[in-house]
Subunit: 417 residues, 2 copies
C-alpha cells in the first residue's frame, strides 16, 4: 500500500468527547489539497500500551504517519517516551533546546517552570520539527521506509508545523499527486436542488471530481483535478468551470475562500457605498457577519436590531398603523424598515429582515420560517418573501445569508430603478 | 480488556478533511456521561477492504463497537454489505421496512425514488435499531460476546439512536459505572488563572475528577464522581462543589448546560426588565447571542450597532465633542452610549461596548484589545476597562461575554445606586 498516510491522535480528552478532533480534519484537508490521500485515522488515549499498539499497526501499513498530541511537559504526555521505546532509541538532554524553551518563557516575562525542563529532552535518532509558536518541538523519524511526524496537539502550533515542515517533506518524498483544487461558492439554493439544476454535472465529472460541501452561507462546489501536469489540471478546472457556471450563475458568488460577507464588503468598498442593516428575527447576525472582517468600518455604517414594535417605530420611523394593518412580519414592514433606515442613516444602501424564526409565534397564515427581506437605495426599495423551515437557528442563518445575497445582487445589478 | 468500547466512523468525507468528525465526539461524550470509557476511535474510508480490517481489529479487542456512516442508499454506502460479509450473514428484503421507507417519503408528499428501495434490505441475523428521523434503520449484532451497533452518519438521526437504543442496551449489559457529572460554568477568567485561584482544587480532586473545558463564554469545570452508589456520587459532587464554589464565586454563573446568554435572559425575564444593547466593536454579537433563544422578545428591547461616529451621535445622542476629547474608544463614550441608549429606548437596562478589536487601529496609548464597557439603569451608569489580546475574533467574543457578565452581575447585585 504505497502513498498511504495514517493519522494518529493521542489524548483522553478526545476519547472522552470533551473536544472534537479538529486537528485530524485540518491535516486531512491539507493533505487532500496536496493530492495526498489519508488512509486511516486512529484516536487512542494517554496510555503507553494502546499508543504502542497504534504505532505497531500503522508501521505495518503506512508510508507516513502523522501523530498529534502528547508532547507537552506533564506526566500524561507520552508520545515522546513511546516513540523512543518503539524505535529502541533514547532521550538525550539538549542544552540548545533548553535555551530555546527558557527564551520563550522570558519573552513573556516569565521564568521557565521546572516542570518544563523535560521539553529539552529529545530522541537521539530523530530530527527536530521547529515549533515557532510553542515550547514543544516536533519529532521526525525515518525508519524502515516509513516517515513519522509527531506534532503537538495545540491547533495553532500544529498547523504551522504541518504547513512549514510536514507537507514539504511529503512532497520531497514524491508523495502526493499533481492535484489542483478550485472552489466555486454558491448561496440561496439547497444541495439537492442545486444538483438537479446542474445539467452538465456529468460532463464536468469527466474532467474533475466534484464534491458538494454545505456551509453556513450556502453550498460550495469543490472541484479537484488530478491530471497529467499542472497545466493539464488548470485546463481541466477551467473547462469544468465553463461547463458548470451557466447553471450556477444565479447562485454563484465567489471562487476560492472568500466568504459571502467578505465579497459583499469588498464590493461595497469598491463601489464606495456604505451599508446599514435593520434586523428583527436575525437579531444582529447580519451586522456581526459584516463586521467580522478587519476594516469593516469602511463600509458598515450602522445596524439596528429592532425586536420590539416600539423600536421599529422609533428607530426606523415605521408608521404604527402599517404594523397594525399588515403585521410586523410583512413585505410592507420590511420595505418600510429598509427605506426608513436609509433615510435616517448616512448609508447609501440598506437591507432589512423581519420574520418568524420560531419555534413559537407561527400561525396558519404566517407560519414559522416566513421571512421578508427588503433592500433600499436612493433610487427605490424592493421587498422579497422567503419561506424557510422549522429550526430557529437555521432560519436565522438562512435569513442572514439571504440578506447578504440581496446586497450582492444589488452590487452586481447596479442601483434600483 | 473488558468494558472496552470502540467507535468506527466510515466515510471518505472525514478522511479527506471535508467534515469534522463530530459524531465520534458526541458518542464519546454520551458514553462518558454514562460512565462508559471509549478505548479507541478509528476512521476509515468507503472501501470494503479497510472497513473489514477495522471490524477484524475491533472484534479482537472490544466489548462493544459503535459504527457510524455508510448506511445510506448509494453505492458508496458499504457498512451493511461489509457487516453481512464479516458475520457470514445475508441480506433479506423486508416488506415491512419497505412500507416504512415509502411512508416516510409520502409524509413529505414525495414518492420513494427507486434508489431508496435497498433501504428495505436488512441482515437476517441482526436486530433493527429504530430510526425515528430517517430511512436508514440501524443494525444491532451480538456475536461472540461483542455487541455491534451500526448507525447512520447523519448527526440528527444518529444522536437519537444513541440515546434511545445504544446507551440503554450498554447499561443493560452492565457496562458503565455509576458516574454522576456536574458542570460549574464560569466566565471572565482564563483557565490557568482560574486554576491558580482554586486553592482547594486538590481537596476536591480527592472526591471527583475535575476537568477544565474552555468554551466561548468562559471556562467550564466538569466534575465527575465515580463512587459506590448514586447517593455516594451526589454526596461527592455536593462536597466538591462546596469546596470549589468560594474560589469560583466571582466568575460562577450556572450549574449545568444553561449558557451565559440564557442565564441573563432568564434573570431579565424573572425581574421583568428589558435589555437594550449598544455595540461598536462587537458588531451585533451581543444582540445575536441574546436573541439566540426562543422568546427573547420578552426581554430584548433593541440593539444598535453604531460603528461610525455619526451613528453614535445620531442613534445614542453622544455629544460630538465628547468623542473628539476622549476618542470613540474611551470610558466616557462607553458610559454615554449606555446612558444615551437607555434614555432613547424603552429598556430598563442598557449595556454598551466600544473597543479596538484589531488587527488594525491600535496605537501606543490605545492598543489593540483595549475595550470599554458600560451598564446603565435608571439609577445610574458605570463603565469598565478591559485589555484583551491580539485576535480580532477572540477580542469580539471576550468583549461580548464581558458585556453579558456585567448584565449578570447587575441582576445579582440589584439596581445601581
Amino acid at each position: 500500500m504505497s502513498h498511504s498516510i495514517e493519522l494518529i491522535s493521542i489524548g483522553d480528552e478526545i476519547l472522552q468527547g470533551q473536544i472534537v478532533n479538529t486537528n485530524a480534519a485540518f491535516i486531512a484537508d491539507r493533505l487532500t489539497q496536496n493530492g495526498i490521500p489519508t488512509a486511516r485515522m486512529t484516536i487512542v488515549g494517554d496510555q503507553c500500551e494502546t499508543i504502542l499498539d497504534a504505532f505497531k499497526r500503522a508501521a505495518g501499513r503506512a508510508q507516513a504517519v502523522i501523530i498529534t498530541g502528547g508532547l507537552g511537559p506533564t506526566p500524561d504526555d507520552l508520545t515522546k517516551p513511546c516513540l523512543v521505546e518503539f524505535f529502541g532509541d533514547k532521550l538525550i538532554f539538549r542544552e540548545d533546546l533548553l535555551v530555546k524553551v527558557k527564551d520563550r518563557f522570558a519573552a513573556r516575562g516569565l521564568e521557565m517552570p521546572e516542570t518544563s525542563r523535560n521539553q529539552a529532552e529529545f530522541p537521539a535518532g530523530a530530527r527536530e520539527i521547529p515549533n515557532p509558536n510553542g515550547t514543544a518541538v516536533g519529532i521526525h523519524y525515518s525508519r524502515d521506509g516509513v516517515e513519522w511526524f509527531a506534532l503537538p496537539g495545540i491547533p495553532m502550533e500544529m498547523r504551522a508545523m504541518v504547513d512549514d515542515y510536514v507537507i514539504p517533506r511529503l512532497q520531497e518524498l514524491g508523495l502526493g499527486q499533481r492535484v489542483a483544487i478550485r472552489v466555486l461558492r454558491t448561496t440561496g439554493i439547497g444541495e439537492s436542488f442545486l444538483m438537479q439544476q446542474m445539467i452538465r454535472l456529468t460532463d464536468a465529472a469527466m474532467l474533475v471530481e466534484v464534491a458538494f460541501l454545505p456551509c453556513v452561507f450556502g453550498v460550495d462546489l469543490k472541484l479537484t483535478a488530478c491530471g497529467e501536469s499542472p497545466g493539464d489540471n488548470e485546463r481541466r478546472l477551467d473547462q469544468a468551470e465553463e461547463l458548470l457556471l451557466p447553471d450556477l450563475e444565479p447562485y454563484f458568488y465567489a471562487r476560492g475562500s472568500e466568504t459571502l460577507p467578505e465579497v459583499v464588503g469588498r464590493m461595497a468598498r469598491e463601489s464606495g457605498l456604505r451599508i446599514a442593516v435593520a434586523e428583527s428575527c436575525t437579531g444582529g447576525l447580519i451586522a456581526k457577519w459584516l463586521t467580522d472582517m478587519p476594516g469593516s468600518s469602511d463600509f458598515f455604517e450602522r445596524g439596528v436590531v429592532c425586536y420590539s414594535n416600539e423600536s421599529k417605530i422609533e428607530l426606523l420611523g415605521i408608521p404604527r398603523e402599517l404594523i397594525a394593518r399588515h403585521g410586523a412580519v410583512s413585505k410592507e414592514v420590511a420595505e418600510a424598515m429598509a427605506a426608513g433606515l436609509l433615510k435616517r442613516s448616512r448609508a447609501s444602501l440598506a437591507v432589512s429582515v423581519t420574520g418568524i424564526a420560531g419555534p413559537g409565534g407561527g400561525t396558519c397564515e404566517k407560519p414559522v420560517g416566513l421571512t421578508y427581506l427588503a433592500v433600499a437605495d436612493h433610487g427605490g426599495c424592493e421587498g422579497f418573501k422567503f419561506q424557510f423551515g422549522q429550526s430557529r437557528d437555521a432560519n436565522r442563518k438562512r435569513a442572514a445569508a439571504a440578506a447578504l445575497k440581496l446586497l450582492f445582487n444589488h452590487f452586481k445589478a447596479g442601483p434600483l430603478p
